[in-house]
């Protein structure tokens, strides 16, 4: 139980990553694949944030001048995740616009039927 309480964030993050990868690899509806990509991104961002956590730490903001710098969580992963979230949003926007255009051309969103380019 100690183990579970300590590592619950890692287990949750990897659960999301595995679920996201499974959806992308197995499903054949394009919208579900795009949702899977989004879940994969969320899982990785959660993992990155939980790497920087300090036990019983507080946010790294000196809102009062007498705050102790020794008890603050790591600010660098938060900056990395900020960038990663924006990148995920950009890819999602592009993927959705391509899905709209794909539906116009083919009339279906089934990836098994969108196979005009062959060997």
């Amino acid at each position: 139980m100690e183990f579970l309480a300590d590592y619950i964030y890692y287990i949750g993050a990897f659960g999301l990553i595995i679920i996201g990868l499974l959806i992308v690899l197995v499903k054949h509806n394009l919208i579900k694949v795009i949702i899977g990509l989004s879940i994969l991104d969320t899982g990785i961002n959660l993992f990155l944030i939980s790497v920087g956590y300090l036990k019983n730490g507080t946010a790294p903001i000196f809102s009062r001048t007498d705050l102790e710098p020794g008890n603050m969580v790591d600010p660098v992963p938060q900056a990395l995740v900020l960038t990663a979230i924006v990148i995920g949003v950009a890819i999602l926007a592009l993927a959705l616009s391509l899905a709209v255009k794909l539906y116009k051309h083919y009339g279906t969103l089934d990836l098994r039927k969108i196979k005009e380019q062959r060997w």
């Binding site: 197995v26 790294p60 000196f62 710098p69 600010p75 960038t83």
Partner: protein
């Protein structure tokens, strides 16, 4: 067949990651850069929010790349979606009275809240990206309520481009005067916890906030109009 293969691949990946996790204990991170930024952040950058000083000053180049990626998303979306059927030509129900009244009441409050978040990025949690997203949600509210209200294309283009140019120009000015490094903090750092402190950080965040707000509004407009 494909399902079984994917599950096997995932089990291998899972085992691999778990076996390398024992070097990263939870709650006791190995932080060389983090400690340096927390200890020296206040005197080197002048911002009270250490995450802001990391995002804009220590890793400012990454933020420049991130701003470029959002710009790319908006331009890519605009170049792929080029249809002609306008929103006003479609048969939709007009919005209810509650939505219209709520929009008129909430819109200035949302814009004010968003502007507050990106102007005070260096003093409290928040910053350019967060504030920009809130401003874009205000535009989403307008599109949902008042059908057919177009967007001022020229205005949003000018805001987007000039905010991006301001970011790079601030970096190039830092190269020419001051410390002779790109993106160095050349304005006076002022008193901690003041609104006008931390050199170029609030200026960069204001530029980013406006840019992100207009870009996300344009993305939402394109997706609603042209699909």
């Amino acid at each position: 067949m494909r399902v079984i293969l994917s599950i096997l691949v995932l089990i291998v990946i899972c085992l691999g990651i778990v076996s390398s996790l024992h070097r990263i204990p939870f709650g006791n991170p190995e932080t060389k850069i983090g400690k340096y930024c927390i200890n020296k952040g206040r005197e080197e950058t002048g911002a009270a929010n250490i995450v802001t000083s990391v995002v804009v000053n220590y890793r400012g180049f990454d933020t420049l790349g991130e701003v470029t990626i959002l710009f790319l998303a908006a331009i890519g979306l605009g170049s792929i979606l080029t249809s002609m059927s306008k929103w006003s030509q479609r048969k939709t129900e007009p919005a209810s009275l509650i939505l219209k009244t709520g929009c008129r009441f909430l819109l200035p409050l949302i814009l004010l809240f968003g502007a507050y978040i990106f102007i005070h990025g260096h003093l409290s949690p928040g910053g350019g990206f967060q504030g920009g997203a809130i401003i874009a949600s205000a535009f989403l509210l307008i599109y949902l309520t008042f059908h057919g209200k177009g967007m001022n294309e020229t205005g949003s283009k000018v805001t987007e481009s000039s905010s991006g140019l301001i970011f790079i120009l601030l970096g190039l000015i830092g190269l020419a005067v001051g410390n002779h490094y790109f993106l160095s903090n050349f304005l006076p750092k002022g008193q901690l916890n003041d609104l006008f402190s931390a050199g170029i950080i609030p200026l960069i965040y204001i530029a980013i906030g406006l840019k992100v707000g207009s870009e996300l509004a344009k993305v939402i407009y394109n997706l609603m109009e042209k699909s």
